[in-house]
Structures are given as C-alpha cells and as structure tokens.
Amino acid sequence: MTERATILAGFGGQGLLFAGQVLARAALAEGREVFWIPAYGPEMRGGTAACTIIVGDAPIGSPIPDRLAALVALNPPSLAKYEPLVAPGGLLVVNDSLVEADPTRADVEVVRVPCTSIARQIGDERLTCIVGLGALVARRRFVGWAAVEVAIADLLVSKGPGVVAADLAALDAGRRAATAPAIKSVATV
C-alpha cells in the first residue's frame, strides 16, 4: 500500500488544522490522492485537537488509519493517545517545549523539537504545528518540500506576505531543528 497516514495532535491554538491543510494541499498539487480530517467536536474547543492526513497514489481507503507513518505530538495527551498507532519504523515528532515524557516505543524514529518555543520566537504560538510540520517533512518526504512551501503561500495569500514569511520561517525552523544533530540526540536521552 502506498498510503501514508499522519496525525498532527496537540492543543487547540497550535495551528494543527492549518498545518494539516498545508500538507493536504501540497499532496494535491503533486497530483496525489489525499484525505484530511480533523478530530471534530466541542471537547476540542480550547482542549486537545488533532488532524489526520492520508496521502496516497490511489483513492484513499480507510479514513481512520491504524498504521501511522508519522505522528506530530504537540502536547502530552496527544503523545499518550496516538503513540501506539505509529507503525514500526514510523516517525514521531515530539514537542519538546511541552512534553516532558519520553515516548515508550523503541521501534519508531523519535525527533524532539521545541516547537512552542520556536513558534514563540517567531512571534506566534499558532505556528507551533507548522514547526512540527517542517520537522516531519524534513524527515519524511511524503510530499516535496517545495510543494509544502507553495501550499503555505497559496493558503495564506490573502493574509499578506508578512504572514506567509512567518509561516515559512516556522517551517524552516522545524526542518533545521529536526536535522540538527544536537536536537536529534534528544530522542536518545
């Protein structure tokens, strides 16, 4: 199967749904099949939130993946809830700013990125998930990097170049954090 499923999960206000849309739109631009779905519901408001994106080369089957290619866990409950779904060899991006605990899985690749801190440094906590997305795409090319950048620019065109620039900066910071050896080593702490 060529389907690759990703879950982005954390607090509301971390920009999860938007980051998911960026990923979906990038896949669309590449002519791939894609499926995007938020965890919807009132309990999500101000509480936890999540978003699933499945990218594939044929129409997507099951909308609820049981074998995740990647998980971006931006707060502690998300890690606890979704870690078991990650397929062996899958990627786990953990928000080092808010998640103290270490993942329990040994058969997945873990990347710790201080997504919240980075987002704040760029100036907006709502960029947290874009940072995570940068880390994800840096490590798993489910979609091309350029397609992601174009998707951000397209989706934010009405918000003006400043916003686009901030999002691209967050994306890139995530990429750098996920590829810098210092950060990578966190996974083994």
Binding site: P42, E43, R45, G46, G47
Partner: protein, 275 residues
C-alpha cells in the same frame, strides 16, 4: 461593598462555620473539575452563580435540574445536583414532567438561547402559560455556541455569525427575538428579569435576580425566568475582554436589563417597550 458582603454569605454554607477572614471561595455545589467551556465563556459565571444561590438557599439537595442541548449540556458535570438531560429545546417540558411528579422538588431548567428561543419556543411559552412552578435560567449569548457560532434568534442585527457571514439582516433573517418580554405577558409568569454577566457589578445584580427567581418557585409556586445576557467569545470572534465590553456597550440596546415583571411584588407588569 455590597458585593463582598454577598460573597461572604455565599461562602458560608449554613452547615459549616465560616473560615476566619474568608471573603470568597468556590461554592460547594460546583464540582471539583475544569469545565470544557472556552476561556472567558459566560456559562462558567452563570454556573457559579447558580451554585452560590442554591447553596445560599439550601436548595441543592432538593433540586432536580434539567440540562439543555448547547454548550451547557455538561452542566451536570459541573454542578452537584441531580440532573436530567432534555432533548434540544425541550427542557421546559422535561421540567414540567419532573414538576408534576415531584411536588417537593426544586425544579430548575438551564437553557441557551438557541435551545430556548428557537427550537424550544413552544415548550417555554407553554410552560410559562401553564404557570409551571419551575425556575428557568436562560443564558442568552446571542449565538449557537456549541455548533460553531451560527445565528440564534437572539443575534443582534448586523452581527456576523457563521450563518450570517454578512451580518444579520432583518429582511432575510428576521429581527432579534425579545422572548422574555413575550413571556412576561403571560399571567402564569411570576417573575421575568434580564441580567448580564458583563462585569462584577452586573454579576451581582444577576445573582439577586436568580435568587428571586428561585424564591418565587418555592414561595409562590409560579414560573420564573431569568435571562442572563452572556458572552461567547469564540462565537463572537472576540477576546473574552472584548466580548465583555460588547456585552456592556452594545447588547442592552436590544435587550434592556432589569426586572420585566415580578407579579408577586407588582402585579401589573412593567411596561416594556419592545424593539
């Protein structure tokens, strides 16, 4: 400093001695959990006031409450009271059912404005027409909070919601509904008032209204309703403080604050000029 004195009373349930110098503490009838409400949501304040008043009056153990469908659907998780869930809008009918078979209970219905003033219009009008001895707390935040901020019958003219993206227009979406004024016309309504939770002083006045609405049920076995103008920062697209300001500055022009009728004090209803 009436407010503080009020608070001190609230914090002294008759059963245990007041801790020395305590000015305010979380009322006992509030459960020890966080609510799912958004930051700054008015429901939290109204819940707290209810817990305070029912505590003050010692009504908690006699209360059978009815939860609405709306953001306050989980009220039973937050208030330590017996609760039954009503289908959307039917809380006054459910409360009627309870009332008729539990003559000694204190019967409370909690409803949002979509719940009470839209789908539940018939039920609230007829519970009021019957003079059903229930107390209704009607939280009017001018919007359907739970389903994502659509227009409610109470939405202000011009207000943007997810179902009036260009602002509510009377021509197509109608006028704000002064339902409490309509109810106040009915002889079965012992008490009808409109308060707000916009600032601490309004909160205090609203608490007094809720108290009166509870007393009327107990003492007069009549129908009593308090409409509480409330906020939905998420649905309004505002910060909680902006929302509170809007509630002070803009909402009362459409929904004037005050007691609309108190038939056991003043049998002739206050002349209300509807807009």
């Amino acid at each position: 400093m009436t407010l503080i004195r009020d608070d001190r009373r609230a914090s002294r349930p008759s059963t245990e001695p007041a801790p020395e110098r305590l000015v305010y503490r979380r009322p006992d009838l509030l459960s020890d959990v966080s609510t799912h409400y958004c930051p700054g949501c008015g429901h939290g304040i109204v819940h707290r006031l209810l817990a305070e008043v029912l505590g003050d009056l010692g009504l908690g153990p006699r209360t059978i409450a009815v939860a609405p469908v709306g953001c306050a659907v989980f009220a039973y998780d937050y208030l330590r009271l017996d609760f039954v869930e009503a289908p959307h809008g039917r809380a006054p009918a459910v409360a009627t059912g309870v009332r008729r078979v539990r003559p000694d209970a204190f019967v409370l219905a909690y409803q949002g404005d979509g719940d009470l003033a839209a789908i539940g219009t018939a039920e609230i009008v007829h519970a009021a027409a019957r003079g059903e001895a229930i107390t209704v707390i009607f939280v009017n935040n001018g919007i359907y909070g739970m389903t994502g901020g659509q227009m409610a019958p109470t939405t202000l003219l011009g207000q943007r919601t997810t179902s009036t993206p260009g602002g509510r227009e009377a021509r197509t979406a109608g006028y704000p509904l002064p339902i409490t004024e309509m109810l106040a016309l009915l002889p079965g309504v012992g008490y009808a008032a409109r308060g707000s939770i916009a600032d601490p002083s309004s909160v205090g006045k609203t608490k007094a209204m809720i108290r009166r609405a509870c007393e009327i049920q107990v003492a007069e076995r009549a129908f009593a309703i308090v409409e509480v103008l409330s906020t939905c920062p998420i649905g309004w697209g505002m910060t909680p403080r902006e929302a509170a300001r809007h509630l002070v500055d803009d909402v009362p022009a459409t929904y004037p604050l005050g007691v609309i009728v108190d038939r056991f004090r003043d049998p002739a209803p206050a002349a209300s000029t509807p807009r």
